[in-house]
């Protein structure tokens, strides 16, 4: 795993690039650990409180530890009318967790997302930002079992 200091340093010359640094950290850690946030704040000349404010503003950034696979269910109107609610229920049932939670083994985190712009194939979920199209409750076990 890359050291967060290196990840921050890689973005150091990106003007205002703390969000880019957060992306780089999240790619490795799946969330932004506290020490990493503090270090990023310092590197970008921002107070820790402000950096925390930035990190908590954006849905795709998290300051809390998350699973290895982050499953996001789109629930915007096009997916909603295509049956997103039923898919969410199926995922919750399959993983045994509620939306917003992480499985006990630390493998999966289930989140809701707004539209991910793949509306040609609703409903859509993403696993670690990779979209999976035309999902249905029945397909869920097969889809998720591929992520070990």
């Amino acid at each position: 795993m890359a050291n967060y200091m290196d990840l921050i340093a890689s973005q150091k010359n990106t003007k205002g690039g703390i969000i880019e640094a957060f992306h780089a950290i999240q790619k490795e850690y799946n969330y932004i650990p506290r020490e990493a946030l503090t270090a990023a704040a310092k590197a970008f000349g921002m107070s820790e409180a402000k950096a925390y404010g930035v990190a908590t503003f954006y849905s795709y950034l998290s300051v809390e530890k998350r699973g290895k696979y982050i499953i996001r269910m789109c629930e915007s109107a096009p997916c909603h009318v295509a049956g997103a609610d039923e898919v969410i229920k199926a995922i919750e049932k399959y993983l045994g967790i509620k939306t917003g939670e992480t499985t006990a083994d630390g493998k999966y985190t289930l989140e809701l997302t707004e539209c991910i712009g793949q509306c040609q194939a609703t409903p859509v979920i993403t696993v670690n930002s990779e979209p999976i199209f035309n999902v249905s409750p029945e397909k869920i076990p097969e889809i998720l079992s591929a992520y070990k």
């Binding site: 409180a49 925390y52 404010g53 908590t56």
Partner: protein, 353 residues
């Protein structure tokens, strides 16, 4: 110069004047919650909205520069309705405990609700509930009363530069928070209380003053801080003959050095005044112990002693340490006393210490 009309009145203001100021000049004082003349503009509370004829939306007067030929209405039906709805939205989440609130009578939310006749909110529903105890002896943080004007965040950043607080999360989950929503003592907070100073409601109050007198009931006495040499102006809040708190006057005229800003000692370090350890009577040492004495006895005794030493050893056997903490008048008298009454120049104070 810009020519515009406010409530039908033609006025002229310099270019760059915000509508808020222009309206003020035209005699229309607008309600504001997020506006603070010492802080960068936010334009977010939307209380100072006015109607600019011909525009599809209402404009926030605090952030809208006056333009030529604007035709502004400050209390039109739409404007009043918008303010009412905003107040109802704020009151829908505000913890109402005015009867025990330190800010009762000095609260902008209360004042505007009164002014616009907002008795109850049409939008009352669930939470949000943000209250979390912050174990520090200075500042009470009750975010169930917060109206998200962000004046505290801006004051912390722009006046003090402590950057201890900012916003966390977004939308209606957004709240004022330190990094990782911790306690102030673990943050970069220096407890200057500038946040308390700018809070327009009862979300941020002084724990030292709690329960000692509601803001509106206190008499305020303008004076100069007793601590360091900066010479900050502050207001002693007096209730029933006791000092119950410190606030500050933010008018440069009355607060030329600090313009209302204080430090933790100035704002929260006043209750030594009523410390039970205060000396309340003269004392005379007798048989090795200090015992209470009357003024007459103590003064005569002391004067006799001083005179005795002077007579026996000469005036230079006496000295006085006057004080860097008492007034000019007292220092003047102290050195005059030593020089004129005793006859020595043995007078000094702790300027060097």
């Amino acid at each position: 110069m810009i020519n515009l009309k406010i409530n039908g009145k033609e006025i002229q203001v310099p270019k760059g004047t915000m509508l808020l100021e222009a309206c003020r000049q035209a005699g229309a004082e607008l309600p504001t919650l997020c506006y603070d003349e010492d802080l960068r503009l936010a334009g977010s509370c939307r209380m100072c909205l006015v109607e600019a004829k011909g525009r599809p939306t209402l404009v926030a007067a605090c952030v809208m520069p006056a333009e030529n030929n604007m035709d502004i209405l400050t209390e039109s039906e739409d404007v009043v309705e918008a303010r009412k709805v905003i107040l109802e939205l704020l009151t829908a989440r505000h913890k109402f405990d005015c009867h025990v609130c330190e800010k009762d009578g000095n609260c902008k939310l209360q004042d505007y609700c009164y002014k616009y006749g907002v008795k109850e909110s049409s939008f009352a529903g669930e939470g949000p509930h943000f209250y979390k105890e912050d174990p520090n002896p200075f500042i009470e943080r009750d975010y169930d009363k917060c109206i998200m004007c962000t004046r505290c965040v801006r004051a912390c950043e722009e006046i003090t530069g402590a950057d201890a607080i900012n916003l966390e999360d977004r939308g209606h989950h957004a709240k004022i928070s330190t990094a990782f929503n911790g306690i102030l003592a673990d943050s970069t907070c220096v407890f200057c209380g500038q946040c308390v100073m700018v809070c327009p409601v009862g979300a941020l109050t002084s724990k030292v003053s709690a329960g000692k007198g509601k803001a509106a009931q206190n008499e305020k006495v303008l004076t100069t801080c007793t601590y360091c040499g900066t010479g900050c102006t502050l207001e002693l809040n007096v209730n029933e003959g006791k000092v119950v708190g410190v606030t500050s006057n933010r008018d440069r005229k009355y607060s030329p050095v600090n313009k209302g800003a204080l430090c933790v000692k100035g704002r929260f370090g006043w209750d030594f005044i009523h410390s039970p350890e205060r000396l309340t009577t003269p004392l005379i040492r007798e048989n090795g112990e200090l015992r209470p004495a009357s003024w007459e006895e103590a003064l005569s005794y002391a004067a006799d002693k001083l005179k005795g030493v002077k007579e026996k050893y000469g005036p230079d056997a006496l000295a006085m340490f006057t004080s860097a903490r008492v007034t000019n008048e007292e220092n003047y008298l102290a050195q005059k006393f030593m020089r004129a009454a005793i006859g020595t120049n043995n007078v000094d104070h702790c300027a060097r210490l």
